[in-house]
């Protein structure tokens, strides 16, 4: 991204304000009357001021006072919430309630109760004052310590249509070190300069904004391209810029759709990958799988309740705990129920469904049927702006990365560890594995525990994306089975591919059909697909396929 070359001299922000104040002040009334030192004095003069120019001077004075309440006063003034009482002319903040106002003393913040419409009078502002106020507030936002707030302030300035703000921006630029704020400044400057009278400058800024995806920029460009008073070159440039923005938007839309699809796919993979161990490798239908995911999500909630100061680390704490809780629950289910029903898949399905109902109701009884709020760690919230107009929410990106990580670990366990070897041996030929000295019962329990534990880990990740409630598991169970079946039973690569494919497919058809129809479409597609290829995308070959 290239910076807009600027020819204007750069002042410091404070200096410019003082200068403006001085100039305006010198023209109207003697300066010593209004340049008050304390906020209280300044507010007194605000109440006393009876013309808009006079108010403007006072407002600018207030903005230079180093007091957090000064900003509050300006904001209230802009919102039209600053009033004086008729009784003693004291300053209050009033909110309109039916047929009257709820008022608060401005200085003491004391609640003064309700008053009638006639008991207070508003400190009125006109449009030009509002502009000044917005500018001053945005300027103060530029000095915020949080770069995100600074960026928002810069964007606000870009939308202000106030050319004088250019100088503020340029003054501020020297002190700015944060890259995203600087980029936002470039955009804001270019956007403001679109209104410039200088043909040359306008053309430069049109080219500068032609890669910026921003609705405000588009409105301005459209206005320019139809404006008869500007030169045809400029109009054409504006049209070209608009077109290139449209192209960009379209490309971004596709990229975004693919990303959303991948992120939905990652959720599906996470939900299904534990199942691809228990169902795919062991051949056991575990209808309580969704509830094991739910347990993982509730574990996150409990961890956050127990350590409210460690929200940023809560996910890392919750991951091993969720693995253990869901894993042991899985082993318990295997030992008590699944074991008694080996070789009877339909009965296993029903019995584990019973377990899922019990777990659901247990959670409902302990945590109430309401959804629980799980907070997002600060490092996962917000979004990542890759280029202007293309933003990716961080939590989805993290979940995508996490699901790939879980997949890789699982693949490692299955392919490269002793336990994985035993697991595969038992799957392929139980009798022979037994003869070689593998304790097949123990391997069964551990395999089931592994699948269940992975479900718990998935729950921790899902707690960041969906509501954590007793029905969380049910929402995923049909989907996860379909993902496993679609990918091919007994093949965790298949699960990864099918999960991501279904996710992207779902998001691709969504714009055309709408969310619900897209979901139905995918379901129907899978139903038909399974009819054509009952063993999924990547069927097992050889002897394992007979099992």
């Amino acid at each position: 991204m290239k910076r807009v070359a600027s020819t204007e001299p750069r002042y410091t922000c404070r200096f410019w304000q003082v200068l403006a104040l001085f100039l305006v002040g010198a023209m109207t009334i003697p300066a010593d009357e209004v340049v008050a030192q304390s906020l209280d004095d300044a507010l007194e003069s605000l109440i006393a001021a009876d013309s808009y120019p006079e108010k403007q001077i006072v407002i600018e004075t207030i903005s230079t006072i180093d007091d957090p309440r000064a900003l509050i006063a300006l904001e209230a003034l802009l919102e039209g919430q600053l009033y004086t009482t008729r009784q003693d002319q004291s300053l209050v903040i009033a909110e309109s309630v039916d047929r009257g106002y709820q008022i608060r003393d401005f200085l003491t913040d004391e609640d003064l109760g309700r008053v009638g419409r006639r008991d207070v009078s508003r400190i009125s502002v006109n449009n030009s004052l509002r502009g000044v106020l917005r500018g001053l507030l945005a300027t103060s936002g530029l000095e915020d310590d949080d770069p995100r707030q600074r960026r928002l302030a810069v964007i606000e300035i870009g939308h202000s249509e106030d050319l004088s703000m250019l100088e503020v921006l340029q003054a501020r630029r020297d002190q700015e070190s944060n890259g995203s704020v600087l980029r936002a400044m470039d955009v804001a400057e270019a956007t403001l300069k679109l209104d410039s009278d200088d043909e040359e400058e306008r053309l430069t800024s049109i080219i500068a904004v032609s890669s910026i995806v921003d609705s405000h920029v588009r409105t301005k460009l459209t206005r320019l391209s139809t404006n008869e008073s500007v030169s045809p070159t400029t109009r054409q440039a504006a049209l070209d810029a608009l077109e290139s923005i449209e192209d960009r938007v379209e490309n971004f839309e596709i990229l975004k759709t693919v990303f959303f699809g991948l992120s939905l796919g990652a959720v599906l993979v996470l939900a299904a990958i534990g199942l691809s161990v228990t169902f795919g490798i062991m051949g056991v239908i575990n209808m309580a799988h969704g509830e094991l995911i739910m347990l993982g999500a509730y574990t996150t909630y409990v961890v956050q309740q127990v350590f409210p100061n460690l929200i940023d680390y809560s996910l890392f704490i919750a991951l091993p705990i969720a693995f253990l809780i869901s894993g042991s629950m899985g082993m318990l289910i295997e030992r008590t129920i699944v074991r008694a029903l080996y070789g009877r898949p339909l009965e296993t399905l029903l019995a584990t469904f019973g377990v899922s109902l019990i777990l659901q109701q247990a959670v409902r009884s302990i945590f109430t049927p309401l959804n629980r709020a799980v907070s997002t760690p600060s490092w996962m919230s917000g979004s990542l702006e890759i280029v202007s107009g293309l933003e990716i929410t961080l939590n989805r990106l993290c979940v995508l990365g996490f699901s790939v990580l879980v997949f890789v670990i699982l693949l490692f366990v299955l392919r490269r560890t002793r336990f994985g070897l035993q697991m595969r041996a038992v799957t392929q030929n139980r009798q022979m594995a037994k003869a070689m000295g593998i304790r097949t019962n123990r391997v069964d329990t551990l395999t089931f525990g592994l699948g269940a534990g992975v479900a718990g880990v998935a729950g921790v990740a899902l707690s960041q994306l969906t509501n954590v409630g007793p029905n969380l598991g049910q929402a995923y169970i049909v989907d996860s089975f379909l993902v496993v079946v679609f990918g091919g039973v007994g093949n965790i690569w298949g699960t990864l591919v099918s999960g991501l494919t279904l996710g992207v497919a779902n998001k691709l058809v969504e714009p055309a059909l709408g969310a619900v129809m897209a979901k139905i479409f995918v379901l129907v597609f899978i139903i038909i697909f399974i009819q054509r290829r009952p063993r999924g995308l990547f069927p097992q070959k050889g002897r394992a396929a007979e099992a």
């Binding site: 339909l346 029903l350 109902l357 109701q361 049909v478 079946v485 139905i520 139903i527 054509r532 009952p534």
Partner: protein, 364 residues
């Protein structure tokens, strides 16, 4: 083996038919003739509740026919039930006429509310009872036929079949929740006024509906019983126990499965059609996968592959459900979940199995 499948079922069936016949005499008498003050009076509420159980029993019977005798576990039978219910609901909706809140003579209230100006084409004909009745049979039957044709031909069976039937009912639920579908969205069809000119709120109509449900259950039982004791029934059981062997013997396994599955869906549709006028509402929640799975538990509790056991299980589980959800709503899902586990692990033959075990114990 074959002999053991049929042993002892006659008696249970006779008891079931006896109970239905008794109900057909006693319930109308105690509701309509006995005065409300008497202890023997059966309230209309109870009549409707019993009628509901009868519909559930018919539905369970339909599932037992495919699961108990052919070994096809369908986790989507609730969908056929709901489709039958919707077909009936559409007829009842059209009977409201201009008595709706908006008073439109043609359009049902929800369509007026959605600003539709004409009836969608698929609502045509539903003002005639005969047409609606035909659709009650055809719609579930057709869906089951197409679905089964595709699935059985590709030899999708066992767990895979169970999962895709669940996906089917789930997809239908999502579809029916949409307002654009023209079936009332999540409110479904309700506020019915009358059926064939008879006021749905009147005691006589309720008792008639109860009686029709009882007769339908008896007819369903006779039909299923006839099928499973015929030569066809023997083939079905053979398919259940050794599908490949049956196929190698020269039987066209897919066709047998397909026809039984379709017939079962039609029975489920009839059950749904009788259910809707009694409860007075049909909405997409009937498509919930949970409902279909609960239905499997009715059959499992009563005893799979016995027919009468399925009807019995439907009655008992639903009675338990009504009792628990009014007295201890928190506990119901624990009980239901426990039932799933208990029945599959400890009582594979259900309650009917217990009766058999006691008998063989006495003989042994």
């Amino acid at each position: 083996m074959v002999a053991s499948i049929f042993s002892n079922h006659e008696r249970g069936g006779k008891i079931l038919l006896g109970v239905i016949a008794l109900g057909l005499v006693v319930v109308p008498f105690c509701n309509l003739v006995v005065s409300p003050e008497s202890t023997f009076h059966i309230s209309t509420f109870t009549v409707t509740l019993l009628g509901k159980y009868l519909c559930y029993a018919l539905l369970a019977l339909a599932l037992d026919l495919v699961w108990g005798y052919v070994g096809i576990l369908s986790l989507g039978h609730g969908a056929f039930f709901a489709l039958g219910g919707y077909a009936m609901g559409m007829y009842l909706m059209r009977q409201i006429g201009s008595r709706g809140v908006y008073g439109d003579p043609v359009l049902p209230d929800f369509m007026v509310f959605l600003n539709w100006d004409q009836l969608p084409w698929y609502w045509y004909g539903f003002d005639h009872f005969w047409f609606a009745a035909l659709m009650v049979l055809l719609v579930p039957g057709f869906l089951a036929f197409v679905f089964g044709w595709l699935a059985f031909r590709s030899r999708v069976s066992g767990v895979y079949f169970a999962i895709i039937t669940q996906a089917l009912t789930y997809a239908l639920m999502l579809a029916f929740f949409r307002n654009e579908m023209g079936f009332g969205g999540n409110n479904g069809l309700t506020d019915f006024k009358d059926l064939l000119g008879a006021n749905l709120q009147s005691d006589a109509t309720r008792v008639t509906l109860f009686s029709v449900s009882a007769l339908a259950l008896a007819a369903g039982y006779f039909l299923c019983r006839y099928i499973v004791t015929s030569r066809l029934g023997l083939v079905l059981v053979a398919i259940r126990d050794a599908e490949d062997r049956t196929r190698f013997l020269g039987y066209r396994v897919n066709y047998y499965k397909l026809w039984i599955f379709t017939l079962s869906a039609i029975m489920a549709g009839v059950a749904g059609a009788l259910y809707v006028p009694q409860v007075g509402i049909i909405n997409p929640n009937e498509f919930q996968p949970l409902n279909s799975i609960e239905l499997v538990v009715w059959v499992a509790v009563g005893g799979r592959g016995t027919l009468y056991g399925a009807a019995l299980g439907a009655g008992i589980v639903n009675y338990a459900k009504s009792t628990f959800t009014t007295l201890l709503p928190e506990v119901w899902l624990f009980v239901l979940g426990g039932l799933f586990v208990l029945v599959t692990v400890a009582l594979p033959k259900g309650l009917a199995g217990i009766a058999g075990r006691i008998k063989s114990f006495q003989h042994g």
